[in-house]
Structures are given as C-alpha cells and as structure tokens.
C-alpha cells in the first residue's frame, strides 16, 4: 500500500542482489535504526531500557544464533543456554586477567570460546540427525551447566559461586558494573547487536548461507553438488555458538550484572528455542520478532492486572504467562508454522500488491 515499486529496476547484479532491494524497505530500516539509536534512549526511561530494550536485544542476538543453526541449517539444539554460559564465563575470565582491555573486546572475544565448544559438541552432527542430535546438544547443556557449578576456577573461586560484573569503562565512560547507566549499556548492546546482525545477514545471503539451507532442505543433494557436510555443519555450530556466546556475555555484563550458573540452565535454552520457533525458523527478522514477543509479552501481562486494578499474586501471573506462552507456541505451530516472520512477509506482500489479495 505504501509500496510504489514501479520504476525501481536494477541495472546491475550488485543492486539486484542487495539485501534490501526495495527502496521503501531501505527507508523503513533507516527509520527503525534512527528510533533505536536516538529515539528510545531519549523517550524510554531507565526501567524501559533495563527491563525491556536491552534484554530484548540480547535475546534477539541469541535467537539469531540459534536460528542460524536450527532455522538455516536444520540442526535442532537445546544447548543454547550452555553456549551462552561459555561466552559469559570466558568474558569474565578474560576481563579478570586483562582488566585494562576494553570490555567490549572481551564480550566479543568470549564468543570465540563458545564457538570452539559449540563446534566440539557439533562434531556428532555429521552422523546424528533430528531427535538424536537433540540429545547430543542436551549432553552439552547439562555437562556445561554442571561445569559452571563445579569448577570454582570459572567464577574465580568466590564463595557465592556467582560471577560479579566489575565496573569497566570505555573511553572513561562506565559501560558495565553498578555505575554504568542504562542508556550506555543499551547503546553498547545495540551497537553489538546491529553489527553482528549485519554480519549474520551477509552470511546467510551468500555462499555459506546457501550451503546451510541446502543441507537443511536436502543433505543428500547438498553433498551431491559438492557441499562438504561436516565443515558446513560445524561452521554453522561454531557461528551459531559464537553469537549465543556473545549474547551470554552481554546477558551478564550488560543486563544482570551478576549471574550464578542456574542462569544458563536448560530453561534458557528453551526460551531461546521458543523465540526462534515463534519468530520464524530461517529468518533473522523472526529472531527479533520472537524475542520481542516472548520477552515483552510477559512484561506487558505483568502490567495488566495492576492496570486493571486487580491484584493477583505475581506468581499466579507468572504461571499464566507460562500457559499463555505455551498456548501461543501451539497456536503458532497450528496456524503459521513459519512464525511471525512469515506473518510479516505475508503482510508485507499484501501491502505490495494492495489492494489485490495476491
């Protein structure tokens, strides 16, 4: 409806293969970025940034990570929580060893540890498929969580068994720890997420992305056109885990401020998986939409009863949330297996052909 594509024709492959070939989309993207970078920090209060915005970004990044693995490469994983943990702990260790180095560097570096571990646990994926692979990733999840609890070295042997985020500054501006303002933490998170998302989208639009999808759609045929299955799958595991690892580090350093092992439990893996399912398998956009729904919805729901002047025990609300999320998942699988992203796509298509239905 807002689309006026007439007269938009491509005169080069470069333009034709652009990730946002339609002018209106590019404009929309710019608007969104502007709002995210400038708008929200201005209008959104610290509560909003801390409780809604920043966590949303972090979850979205993790969801992108898992989506690369599950949505693009078709490998089911419940190890996400564990991989995120690796990132967090790695970052923690690194920053304790080299306090001087800018924390953002370590957040990004933490991902590499996760990538390594991810690739390791990805090794079986060559021989194991579907549910069987799921078990392999569960092994990773439980083993890692166990490791987080039982290896004191990971949390610098402090009695609480948790990692306490120290204050770290970037150019004199504290971006982690107690003194860091919500806005700075949000902006840092935003920058990281935007950049990594951009890289991820480049990846899925190129050779590597295609070989992932090829493996997903029909691994036999993929092998037949010369795609080596193991390296492809391992790369997918590694990159997926990298993003999850970074997300994990951000989770602790830019959001929680401190974390005990239970943070990275199987529940986290589930949460991320649901974000991917509801958001839409095989869509980066979906990761964001899924994260928004799963993370923001409960917050909204929590807000509803007070708003209506009803007072229910917060625990009750949590339980309701749980059920609602569950129902949502089932509804989505029934109504739109491809998730919010597909809904978005259809909606967009409708706008493009408006007033026609198709």
């Amino acid at each position: 409806m807002f689309y006026r594509e007439v007269g938009q024709y491509r005169t080069s492959y470069r333009a034709d293969m652009a990730i946002f070939p339609i002018l209106q989309d590019r404009i929309g993207l710019l608007v969104i970025l502007a709002v995210a970078f400038v708008g929200l920090p201005l209008v959104g209060g610290s509560f909003f940034l801390d409780v809604v915005a920043t966590p949303f970004l972090i979850y979205a990044l993790a969801a992108i990570g898992l989506n690369l693995l599950t949505g693009y490469t078709g490998l089911l994983s419940l190890g996400t929580g564990g991989f995120m943990g690796i990132g967090a702990y790695a970052c923690y260790k690194l920053t304790t060893w080299f306090p001087g180095v800018d924390i953002v560097v370590w957040i990004l570096a933490g991902g590499f540890a996760a990538a390594a571990v991810g690739a390791l646990f990805g090794l079986p994926s060559l021989r194991i498929k579907g549910f069987y692979l799921l078990v392999a990733t569960l092994a990773a999840q439980f083993f890692l969580q166990w490791a987080f609890e039982r290896i004191p070295w990971l949390y610098n042997n402090n009695v609480s068994g948790t990692i306490e985020v120290p204050t770290r500054t970037l150019l004199g501006l504290p971006i982690t720890g107690a003194t860091a303002t919500p806005v700075t933490r949000y902006e840092v998170a935003l920058c990281i997420v935007v950049v990594l998302t951009w890289l991820a989208s480049n990846l899925v639009h190129g050779r590597i992305g295609r070989s992932w999808m090829a493996v997903r759609d029909m691994d036999i045929a993929a092998e037949l056109i010369g795609i080596r299955l193991l390296p492809t799958k391992l790369l997918s595991f590694a990159i997926s885990s990298y993003l999850c690892g970074v997300a994990g580090a951000m989770l602790v350093f830019l959001w929680y401020g401190s974390a005990e092992p239970s943070v990275f439990s199987i529940d986290l893996s589930f949460t991320i998986l649901f974000m991917v399912i509801i958001g839409g398998l095989g869509s980066l956009l979906g990761a964001f939409l899924g994260a928004a729904l799963i993370h923001v919805l409960p917050i909204v729901l929590r807000g509803v009863p007070p708003a209506l002047g009803i007072d229910i025990a917060s625990s009750t609300v949590e339980h309701l949330n749980l059920m609602i999320v569950g129902v949502l998942i089932i509804l989505f699988l029934v109504a739109e297996p491809f998730g919010l992203a597909r809904l978005w796509q259809t909606g967009k298509q409708k706008l493009r052909v408006w007033p026609f239905p198709y």
Binding site: L203, R207, M213, A214, R216, D217, E223, L224, G282
Partner: protein
C-alpha cells in the same frame, strides 16, 4: 559456461563400471554389470522397472557402495565412489523424483550448484563486499546464462517448492549444469512431463551435449526418446546387463524385446 576441462579426449572411455555387484541384504540389485561411457556421448541406461537402473547411477556417484566390482573414472580405478568425490571430479546428477532445495528460489538453487567453484572464505563472506561480492556476481553471471539457456527467466525468484513438476525438473537440470560437470547423470529426466515439456527437455539435453560437450548418461522409460537421444544403450533386466549396443541394434535384440514384453504381459 566454458567446456569442462577433462583429460580424456572425445571418444575415449571417460567412465567405466567393471563387474559391479550390489546387494541389499538378500536382494541383489545389480549383478556383475560392466559397461563404459565414452567422452562426449549420450549414453542411455534402460530396462523395465526394478531392473536396477537407478541403483546403477547411485553406484556411479557413490550413494551405494557395491560389494564387488570397480569404477574407472579418468583412467583411475576406484573401488567405491563417494558423492563428494564424484561432485568434485565433475559428475553431476538429477533425480527421478526431483531433489531440489525446496525452501530456496530457483536462483538460489542454481547458485548453490556453484558451491564447489566459490572460494571466498568466511571473512569476506561476513562482509559480503569486495572479493566475496565480486565472486558472487561472477557466478551469478554464469547462473544467468543457464537460466537463459533453460528459458526459466520468469521463475527466477520463485521458491522451487511452488513450481509445477515439469519446471522443477528443469531447475534441477539447471543446478546440475551450474556445476559445469564433465559427466551428467540424468535419472528419468522426462517422467511426469507433458509432450511439450518433453520436447523442450530433449532439446536441452541435446544442446548441453553439443554445446558444452558434456558427456551424458541417462535413464529413461520412453523408448522413443531414448532412441532419438542416445548414441549407445545399455539394457538392464533384473540387475543383469542383457544388451549394450547402438539404439537400432538394441531395438532388434530379442532378449530386450523379451524383457519388455515380459513387463507388458
């Protein structure tokens, strides 16, 4: 598309299967089958249902591993192929019931066919600029030539899952061509097609063979088609080779006639 460079001169044997026997448990799919494929020819493998035609192709590109026998490709002896190696050494393949990447568009399917030829590593892929994009574009050019060749411009951006069967087969051929193969294995390229589509497909096969000098081995039910297309025909029946000759001779061959009548009756 440049002609696939092969170190085997035209007319000489490009690939030979020697005394291949393949069993699944008790069932014998192939029994002591030998034949050769010469560079630049169109080789047909025919035979009634369950004759082991598809199994033969699966052996050639390494999906099945025969219990006995060997494959000679480019003069080197291989006890067993494997799909990856086959692909890398220039063997492409289409399937009886299309094996496309259904979630991807026609364009992406063909681009995926270039996988082997794309070299840029992770770093450039992440940036999707400079060398990576240049490479992407270079291969897009090749793919566009194939799209033009197969006359599938109109479905460039359509997810192949949504295409009618005939077109899917065409796209699959396109994906195989994108590999610029030296040997192209076609498993019943014309099943489930209407007459017009069949004619097109025939035209494409002949043009592929003549223009790109691609050697082709194809399985086909439609005898007429086989006789028009192929230079030599192998006939399998119950996993055995019962004839191997030029089309006309095969047509006369009593054993072949018997086998086909047997099916008919």
């Amino acid at each position: 598309m440049t002609e696939a460079a092969g170190h085997v001169a035209a007319g000489e044997t490009l690939l030979a299967v020697e005394r291949i026997s393949l069993r699944f448990g008790g069932v014998t799919a192939l029994n002591d089958v030998s034949f050769d494929i010469r560079r630049g020819e169109i080789r047909a493998i025919i035979g009634p249902n369950g004759a082991g035609k598809t199994s033969m192709l699966n052996v050639i590109n390494g999906f099945y591993h025969p219990q006995r026998g060997a494959i000679r490709f480019h003069g080197e002896n291989l006890a067993r192929m494997n799909p990856g190696f086959a692909a890398r050494s220039g063997i492409a393949r289409t399937f009886q019931n299309v094996a496309l990447f259904r979630g991807m568009t026609t364009l992406d399917n063909l681009m995926a066919g270039r996988a082997l030829k794309m070299k840029r590593g992770l770093f450039w892929q992440l940036l999707r600029h400079g060398p990576a994009l240049d490479e992407e574009i270079a291969h897009r050019r090749v793919v566009e030539d194939i799209i033009d060749f197969l006359e599938i411009e109109a479905i460039r951006r359509v997810p192949v899952g949504r295409l009618p069967y005939g077109l899917q087969k065409r796209v699959e051929l396109g994906r195989a061509l994108a590999m610029e193969p030296e040997l192209l294995l076609l498993d019943e390229p014309m099943t489930g097609m209407n007459l017009e589509e069949k004619e097109d497909m025939c035209r494409f096969i002949l043009e592929v063979n003549s223009q790109f000098g691609t050697t082709i081995a194809l399985i086909e039910h439609d005898m007429g088609v086989v006789m028009d297309l192929s230079s030599r025909v192998v006939v399998l029946d119950y996993g055995r080779k019962i004839a191997d000759d030029v089309p006309d001779a095969v047509k006369q061959d009593p054993a072949v006639i018997a086998a086909y009548l047997g099916v008919a009756g």
